[in-house]
Symmetry: C2
């Protein structure tokens, strides 16, 4: 298949979501294919952030906790995220970072499965997830162990000592999407829990935690949810575990009566028990704007467009860039919204693309990642990006010192 630019223009013209692009103020001359790492700001996020800072923090000061809904923000925004991930509003809270939330829920999984000690994960998993599980296991000594096995051995490795299987729904490097319902069922068959990291899927593809019978989940606010750099993360606890789960980061916000100022911690009876410290109001303002934008979009249309964009990207790359390997599944239903390619000079190629205004990213040793978004990516941008990639490869334009020079953040 080799689609012409005119045909890409026709796809944009027929796109029912094309108008959403106006919700963003993306810089001229840039094709942004890294929303899977940092989503761009909706215009409303900038406005809401200013208002929260000037009118709420600056004018109402401490009274904002009552006047402006600050105290309710973690559960209010969690309830909105719930609608994007197939959860009930009372099952989701916004809190902390993905890493901190994973710590809470992994410890929580052990509390729900007393007598079991194994946390099971795969090699090559999103590093911070493995790192957090290592930290928890090291802290707990003989009461917990982390078992990391290759992807292909994972399901068979679930056993009667497994407290929880911990997996990212869409893999950060390959974009491979697990069948959440099937994997969760396999965990349940051995009495284990399924703890999902939906950081690379929430807001990107269909996520239905309750349909899959997921037990626990964490997710990121700043990738496909457009919540801002380092935005607060979220966590999900299935209703059947609320009230039973125990997590160790028992801060004041998770107390049954935060303003009782008691010495003894009594956990809140609901998902607030999974929150810890004071809500980061400024960051939450930006996050809520991103979530609200996502909620305004027809999910079926968004999923169809996301699949079409990434399918187009793959088709054009395979037609025009034979030097590149495809590290992602070819079927959209088995992927997230980023496409991963391989090339030994991947780093320099990504830099050369950036010099032409096409922003993707690189993951060592050889993966080039390009993410699309049904909210702001145009079909013509996909076409233009692959054309730039094709040209850079054909002319070896990447083979220059300035493109090979490593930056601090890749």
């Amino acid at each position: 298949m080799s689609l012409s630019r005119g045909e890409a223009e026709a796809l944009d013209a027929a796109d029912p979501l094309a108008g959403l692009r106006q919700e963003f103020d993306l810089p001229d001359g840039v094709i942004y294919l890294d929303g899977n790492s940092l989503g761009p700001p909706p215009r409303t996020a900038l406005a809401r952030l200013s208002r929260t800072a000037a009118a709420e923090w600056g004018r109402d000061l401490i009274l904002s906790w009552n006047l402006n809904g600050w105290m309710e923000a973690p559960l209010r925004i969690g309830g909105k995220i719930a609608r994007l991930v197939g959860a009930e509003p009372h099952e989701v809270a916004v809190a902390d970072s993905t890493s901190v939330n994973l710590f809470k829920l992994a410890a929580g999984a052990l509390s729900l499965r007393p007598g079991r000690t194994t946390l099971l994960a795969q090699t090559g998993e999103f590093p911070t997830d493995l790192h957090i599980l290592q930290g928890l296991a090291a802290l707990l000594g003989e009461r917990a162990r982390l078992r990391i096995v290759p992807e292909g051995e994972l399901i068979a490795a679930i056993d009667e000592d497994t407290a929880a299987l911990v997996l990212t729904h869409v893999h950060y490097r390959t974009s491979r999407r697990w069948d959440m319902a099937a994997v969760t069922a396999a965990a349940h068959a051995k009495g284990a829990l399924a703890l999902w990291d939906v950081s690379h899927s929430a807001g990107a593809i269909g996520v239905d935690l309750n349909a899959a019978r997921a037990d626990l989940a964490v997710g990121c606010g700043y990738k496909h949810l457009n919540g801002g750099p380092g935005a607060p993360a979220f966590l999900f606890v299935a209703e059947r575990h609320l009230g039973t789960i125990r997590q160790p980061l028992t801060g004041w916000l998770g107390h049954a009566e935060p303003f009782a100022f008691e010495d003894l911690h009594r956990p809140a009876p609901d998902v607030r028990a999974l929150t810890t410290g004071t809500p980061p109001i400024l960051s939450l303002a930006a996050l809520e704007a991103g979530i609200d934008l996502h909620l305004s979009v027809d999910r079926a249309q968004a999923e169809a467009k996301g699949a079409a964009l990434s399918d187009l990207f793959i088709a054009l790359v395979e037609a025009g860039c034979p030097e590149l390997g495809l590290a992602s599944p070819r079927r959209a239903a088995e992927r997230g919204l980023h496409v991963s390619l391989t090339h030994k000079d991947g780093y320099a190629i990504v830099q050369a693309l950036a010099a032409r205004g096409v922003i993707g990213d690189f993951r060592a040793p050889d993966v080039l990642r390009f993410g699309v978004s049904p909210l702001f990516t145009r079909f013509t941008e996909v076409w233009d990006a692959v054309e730039a990639l094709r040209d850079i490869l054909a002319t070896r334009a990447y083979d220059r010192p300035e493109h090979r020079a490593r930056k601090a953040v890749t």
Copy 2:
């Protein structure tokens, strides 16, 4: 003593820091005496937040991690806070919330004192600190225990099983200030560590962690440091413990090479090992503006003015409001920058004051708190606030249903 308003005006006229008030855009008609709970925004914070959101997040997008110093923000801002708390720049990092940081450092204290199991704290301590220690102790089972004793028994309770004494430098309810050096020395005499919470002292009074030989500390960004509601917190690890301390929240940001994307966590050799997840850039932008403002101020002048303001507050209250008890130490050197009064109708009195534009806060069952700031409080505001308080008491203006009605957040 009974100072006239004219004399208060003279104090303002002679105040070398009076001009700092212009750095804030406080609302008309409000006397804000709650900066100890939520510091107001410096004008520069609003500007910096807008710039970070629009120009960095919105224009440079993912490239901001390299272009705009995002990756270095936790240690850069930590290094600035270090100058306010008597630490070296490489001993402080900004991360997470105070509660989460306390969890990390309390676990870290246990790692530094193998064989010891006791975390020692006082009854009536800042609740979230006790709650977090309870969560850690519950998680660790027989490997840790939390011992909570009355303030007067605390020093005597330090023993050979004490891994760390955990204390807030300035008490949230009474404003009582511990002698950090003396208490730390008492801990060290038994081989225990001293872990200080400087949430109510950093940015308010003189804090000199290294002069006191403090081992570990956490602190809040949104009270006296004016970092914004729910601002990121900070943590301090004395140089002699860096490289040895082990904390359990081992996220990607604390990895020796965050972009190596390794399965195995290798902690950074420096204070970055105490960080966990992706830095909250928007919140950090506001926090850094607050810190920069504090760094622009002569610390000796600020401490002298803070003591004078709170001394004046107490003197005027004692002269004009005999119904009120004083819950804070009378000597400024033994207090923080908030003054705590007691009255059985404290809640209604605080509400009645708020209705007149004087903002303090209330802590159950009977404490009224009023905080001053050398950056933005005027001596005449102290005078006017106490005059309002005197009048409300004299006329029993607080004794109305609308002032007694409880709000969600007190």
